[in-house]
Symmetry: C2
Subunit: 197 residues, 2 copies
């Protein structure tokens, strides 16, 4: 990936890296932050987004891109820390992506928090899989995946996927997700995304 972590960690002879088992934070690896300004157009309520951004360019989530070689037989791993919050009535989410090599799965272990793994495939099948701390989540081949934080604390996951999988963020950035998760009467509700193309 050419990021700093690829220089820190030894993919030839193995390594360990600390990740706090509740917060997901590492003292060794270098995190990447996704701020509100980097998610333009992705939330349903554009006015609420503009107002939130004007107030503060908040960090929506942090994750550790560990610099694994992007080749077959490799395993990329790290943690993702999605903060709690809403834009309008829509819960914070990660941008989400397909794998460039579509036929590749991903394993997650949810370390803390609660929310959903929202998945959809190019054929239109979708699911919002409820997840919480202490649960492994399996994302099948061919499904775009995004985590949505419906709780009051960080939604923290450890993830692992094949090095050859790659990331296709563009499809989601262009088309959006078919479904949104919003708060209605204090509870998460899944609705159609009015912006979906």
């Amino acid at each position: 990936m050419g990021n700093k972590n690829s220089e820190i960690f030894d993919y030839v002879r193995g390594f360990t890296c600390d990740f706090d088992s509740v917060t997901g934070v590492s003292k060794t690896a270098v995190p990447t932050s996704r701020k509100l300004s980097q998610m333009k157009g992705m939330f349903a309520d554009d006015a609420a987004y503009a107002a939130a951004l004007e107030k503060e360019d908040t960090v929506v989530y942090d994750f550790y891109e560990m610099g694994a070689p992007e080749s077959e037989g490799e395993i990329a791993m790290g943690t993702s820390i999605l903060h709690p919050g809403k834009i309008g009535d829509e819960y914070y989410f990660t941008k989400g992506h397909y794998h460039s090599k579509l036929d590749t799965a991903e394993a997650y272990y949810c370390m803390s928090g609660e929310g959903f793994m929202l998945i959809e495939n190019p054929e239109g099948d979708w699911r919002a899989i409820p997840m919480k701390g202490g649960e492994a989540v399996y994302v099948p081949k061919r499904y775009a995946h995004r985590t949505v934080n419906t709780g009051k604390t960080d939604l923290v996951t450890f993830f692992a996927f094949g090095g050859e999988a790659g990331h296709d963020y563009g499809t989601i950035e262009t088309k959006g997700y078919r479904k949104l998760i919003v708060e209605r009467d204090g509870k998460p509700e899944i609705i159609d995304n009015p912006k979906w193309k």
Copy 2:
């Protein structure tokens, strides 16, 4: 894999499975146990092994073989729970294995306990990577891997590897590992394995 878990979990549309974040135990998945009697000849001290076995055929470790399809692009995941104990002065370990497809890596997250990830490759390079709860461990391609519990509690890991990797237990069962980890003056020490072929 044809085990019960392959019927429980949906590898086509995704699933979650509970794994306690400290003990690694699942209320949903079916575990596999490795007893002392299934590890004949693997510990260095045959007399101590025979005496321990006569006393009780103890479970050395449990793990969750989750029934992931053994094909490219898949990810197999689960937890492994290695109990504390010794045969003579040698700490309990998992049998350990190469991947059948040698050029495949594996990701671990250590949920609790302390010990080592003992790795070696066919060319004779080896390392004993210290690991403890709250650390991710990366096992590189081409390395056999075994966990060794040098602590007083279970050594618990969440693991993920490519579905196409497969397991080659035979090589280790036949040749053994180049190195052992034993207790000397109350501390772990790495020594040559006198049985290594």
